[in-house]
């Protein structure tokens, strides 16, 4: 089966493309990026501010299982309903800097749509670090689980 979410990350480049098809009309897909209470539901984050207009800003905050708060913010540069959002994205208190995101929303049929995210990072190194983070976390979790099982066997 073809994967619904695809990542195109070429070696030595400081950008990636994320594409995803949805069984949703494009209007609903776009709404998921606009309504604060909906963003909160699928992103699992608290929306402190979300100004969906040119030169508007947004601020999100997540709380990890240990109770630590993590902030995210950015500025919206282009906002065309059902078509396009161009914005910056920054993870607060990290060395990653600001990334630029081009979100393109496309109607495929009345009930299906496609999202293309073109993300540009400050450097190739930063991009590779961000791509590797879930991998490093995954290794950690897998081994922690393994450790738990081994401990139970003792």
């Amino acid at each position: 089966m073809e994967q619904k979410t695809k990542i195109d990350a070429q070696n030595g480049k400081q950008e990636i493309h994320i594409t995803r098809t949805f069984d949703l009309p494009v209007e609903l897909l776009f709404k998921a990026y606009v309504e604060p209470e909906i963003v909160e539901q699928w992103m699992g984050t608290k929306v402190l501010k979300l100004e969906c207009r040119k030169h508007g800003g947004y601020q999100f905050e997540t709380t990890d299982p240990r109770g630590n708060k993590h902030g995210f913010n950015g500025v919206i540069h282009e906002f065309t309903p059902d078509q396009r959002i161009t914005r910056t994205f920054e993870m607060e208190n990290t060395p990653f800097g600001v990334q630029l995101e081009y979100l393109q929303f496309e109607k495929l049929s009345d009930d299906t749509s496609k999202l293309t995210m073109h993300v540009i990072y400050p450097s190739v190194e930063v991009r590779d670090q961000i791509l590797a983070m879930p991998f490093a976390q995954g290794i950690n979790m897998a081994h922690n689980r393994l450790q738990q099982i081994v401990n139970q066997l003792k």
Binding site: L29, T94, P95, A132, P134, F135, N140, H143
Partner: protein, 109 residues
């Protein structure tokens, strides 16, 4: 093939995994890394040596200090290191889809 075993052994040790996780977000000096652990400094140095030997970490001289950073290329050789990143987005978008389907159903009521 030796490499694969070495890398696997390298990541089988909890402190070394913790080091990889730390360095994944930011290049750090040995001192800064050691400050995150209760383990004795020479033990941390040994872990750094092993991680560097199997090329999961790389060193970069910056003035007088040596920084350790993660070698994403090597990570990629032992596993498709982008796959967990893709899965993270896939799960996020699945959530979006189900939230919006519920929203759509509610609107129709």
């Amino acid at each position: 093939m030796n490499l694969r075993r070495d890398v696997f052994q390298a990541i089988a040790e909890p402190t070394r995994r913790a080091i990889l996780l730390l360095v994944a977000s930011q290049a750090m000096t040995a001192g800064a890394i050691a400050a995150n652990f209760d383990t004795a400094r020479p033990t941390v140095s040994k872990h750094l040596q092993i991680l560097t030997e199997c090329e999961l970490l790389e060193q970069k001289q910056n003035g007088r200090e040596i920084f350790y950073y993660i070698n994403a290329k090597k990570m990629k050789e032992v596993a498709d290191f982008i796959e967990p990143f893709r899965q993270m987005w896939d799960e996020r978008f699945n959530k979006l889809e189900s939230v919006m389907k519920a929203y759509q159903a509610k609107k129709k009521d």
